[in-house]
């Protein structure tokens, strides 16, 4: 195989939307893969006229590990721990999508206690993920040496409390390996429920503090209102999900529309805003904090007894033979719809697994909405879109 050619010609990126030429000089600037606010490895080739962005070419793939090919080589028992590495900030929901797809295809029953535990960790994970979102977004807008860092450190402090809960439950802080085909791997230890209640009470009180700190702040409002408006039609067409979709006026939440894993047993609201700008997305996520905490309280109050897996003991690591067929399991992750399209062929390994990452579709909307804003708004918009590049690149 010959040596690869030198850096490819991306000097003329084809641009989704380019604003009309107004006459001033155009500058091509790279917001490169190494950048304090790229949220991971992301390259945006911006074409600027003065301070205004007229076109964006998004280059991704710096974190590509080809999960889809990898899944064809790993059994259904081996892969869930790897699935968490797609959306590594919300690992619980990532694992859930894969495991649900395998269970539905193989028609494996999941015990009630396991379902409730799955929902509990998914909602706690949503709280932790939104804490990280708020912190990094404010840090992007406010500077790593400045007011943004203050909000970041407060949010990380809260996130650490939730991660402590996960650590006592599964042994890991970030990437868990908690789900397995047939149920969950770990049961709640002694005192976990009490600790959990204390933590979510504390987080709920602190969220009020952050809301007051941010919403009363004129600078915050100036930076976020009217910025990065995604219209309802664009939102549906591109297929963005989660808080982005709900902030643009579409009341589509998979936990409500297509309930999975016992979500139909719980009482919670789905926030919807119509403005479609960064501030609307912020408001949706702040309400989601509270709703997730509500769900966790309901679970802690009514956790049923029983086994935590329908394939306990040695069977949990044994091979699962999934019959021929296809299945698409979707989960409402903190960023949107995380889905696993699985095709089984009767063996212990999938024939084809397609991972639908929420951030991949969310990011696809950037070239449509960024042109027309200034460079400073690019970071505000990217932060409110909240991409995680493990999901984008897989």
């Amino acid at each position: 195989m010959s040596a690869p050619s030198p850096m490819p010609a991306d000097l003329n990126p084809r641009l989704v939307k380019t604003l009309d030429y107004t006459g001033s000089e155009r500058l091509t600037m790279n917001m490169g893969p190494q950048h304090p606010s790229a949220h991971g490895v992301f390259r945006a080739i911006l074409t600027l006229e003065g301070e205004q962005v007229v076109a964006v070419d998004a280059v991704i793939g710096y974190l590509h590990r080809c999960h889809e090919k990898l899944a064809e080589t790993l059994t259904y028992a081996q892969y869930p721990s790897i699935a968490s590495k797609t959306d590594y900030v919300a690992a619980m929901t990532s694992e859930l999508a894969y495991v649900m797809a395998a269970e539905r295809l193989a028609k494996i029953e999941v015990p009630k206690r396991a379902e409730y535990l799955r929902v509990a960790v998914a909602e706690l994970q949503r709280v932790a993920s939104h804490c990280l979102w708020l912190g990094t977004w404010c840090m992007d807008m406010g500077g790593a040496l400045g007011g943004g860092a203050t909000v970041f450190l407060y949010c990380i402090r809260e996130r650490e409390l939730v991660l402590d809960l996960f650590e006592s439950l599964t042994g890991a802080r970030l990437l868990y390996g908690f789900h397995q085909v047939g149920g969950v791997r770990y049961d709640v230890p002694e005192g976990w429920a009490a600790e959990c209640r204390k933590t979510i009470d504390l987080i709920e009180s602190r969220i009020l503090e952050y809301e007051a700190m941010l919403e009363d702040n004129t600078f915050f409002r100036m930076r976020t209102e009217g910025v990065g408006v995604i219209s309802r039609e664009l939102a549906l067409d591109v297929g963005i999900g989660g808080p982005l979709l709900r902030a643009s006026g579409v009341a589509f939440d998979l936990r409500r529309a297509q309930p999975y894993s016992s979500y139909q047993d719980f009482d919670f609201n789905v926030p919807v805003e119509t403005a479609g700008d960064c501030f609307a997305r912020y408001q949706v996520r702040m309400v989601e904090f509270r709703e997730s905490i509500k769900i966790v309280r309901q679970i802690l109050d009514g956790l049923p007894e029983g086994p935590i897996s329908s394939r306990p003991g040695l069977k949990s690591v044994a091979q699962v033979r999934v019959p021929k067929g296809e299945m698409y399991a979707r989960v409402e992750g903190p960023r949107g719809e995380v889905g696993c399209y699985l095709i089984g062929d009767g063996g212990a390994k999938p024939y084809r697994m397609k991972w639908r990452g929420a951030s991949f579709s969310n990011l696809a909307v950037l070239p449509h909405i960024i042109p027309g804003h200034s460079v400073a708004d690019v970071v505000a918009i990217m932060g409110s879109v909240d991409p995680v590049f493990g999901e984008v690149d897989r």
Partner: protein
């Protein structure tokens, strides 16, 4: 002492001031870091020396030992000269500030005019740094900087004119002496508004958050100083902090009565330092609490809000003085 050649006196006092300044600026960075840490529920520098007191020295040694990089395509002479051109005005502003009645390097009778004029010179150094780095981020930042600093120097000067009018002199020691009875900040309405406008304009003119769009790390990755490392970076940092401190001293002098305070006269410089640090901490507090706003919003605030208000303020002060002169004596 007084029979020494005046040039020699100037040299010695300048040297003493520079030395004191270097030490003060270094420890002011530590103060800021500790203060910021407490705001963020953490401890700040703790391990280097007792409670982190040797941290600034460690930082200085580190910066001295770093490799001095010059980008290949950069304009070498301007690149090397820019930190110096940036630093010199920032240090020179201290020349006219009297730390006690009669204790200053050069108590010019156009003191405040000199201060304003010289402190605006740093823009030249800033732009030289941004331009010569051969880096789009640096260039973008330098362009924003020129825009912003020029826009905010006007309200800064207008706000500083209020105490000048009230004291009736451009000489800084006269302004300080005129506050023996009542600090200018306590003058009804005019004093408070003037002080507020002064602080806001100075924060913006020094590129501190929330107006630090030009070095917005999360967008422009350190802006105009992105290509600097080692001692040149240290010089730029020194210049920035010296400028902030200089404006804090000026603010303390113009509005907070400089060296007047309870206790014997030799405590005067101590009070002065305390007041200046108070203003510095106020600026720092704002820095660690707010997110930054976009450059077009910054310029809107300056031209549409701050400048008209400060012009009105100066006019009001002038009217007050005329009325006071007409009624009182």
């Amino acid at each position: 002492m007084s029979n020494l050649h005046p040039a020699l006196i100037g040299l010695i006092s300048g040297g003493v001031l520079l030395g004191a300044l270097a030490g003060l600026v270094a420890y002011v960075t530590l103060l800021e870091r500790k203060f910021a840490a407490r705001l963020q529920s953490r401890v700040g520098p703790y391990r280097v020396g007792p409670h982190g007191l040797l941290q600034p020295i460690a930082d200085a040694v580190k910066l001295l030992l770093k490799e001095d990089l010059v980008p290949a395509e950069a304009d070498r002479r301007i690149f090397n000269l820019a930190p110096v051109v940036f630093l010199v005005p920032c240090l020179l502003i201290f020349a006219t500030i009297p730390f006690a009645p009669g204790l200053g390097v050069a108590d010019l009778n156009i003191g405040i005019l000199f201060f304003m004029a010289v402190s605006s010179m740093e823009i030249v150094g800033l732009f030289m740094a941004g331009w010569s780095s051969n880096n789009k981020y640096a260039l973008l930042s330098a362009m924003r900087a020129v825009n912003q600093i020029i826009s905010y120097d006007l309200p800064f000067i207008m706000a500083a004119l209020v105490p000048v009018l009230l004291a009736g002199s451009l000489r800084l020691s006269d302004i300080a002496a005129a506050q023996e009875g009542l600090w200018f900040v306590f003058y009804p309405v005019i004093g408070q508004l003037g002080f507020l406008a002064f602080v806001i304009a100075s924060v913006a003119a020094e590129n501190r958050v929330p107006f630090d769009i030009l070095e917005a790390e999360s967008e422009l990755v350190a802006g105009f100083r992105v290509e600097y490392s080692g001692m040149k970076f240290a010089l730029i940092q020194l210049g920035e902090y010296a400028h902030v401190l200089g404006t804090s001293f000026l603010g303390a002098l113009l509005f907070l009565g400089a060296w007047s305070g309870p206790g014997p006269a030799w405590l005067g410089p101590g009070w002065f330092l305390l007041k200046a640090l108070g203003i510095f901490l106020l600026i720092t507090w704002v820095r660690w609490s707010f997110i930054r706003i976009r450059v077009d919003q910054i310029l809107q605030i300056s031209w549409k809000v701050l400048l008209p208000l400060t012009v009105l303020l100066v006019a009001a002060t002038a009217i007050t003085i005329v009325l006071r002169g007409a009624s009182g004596g």
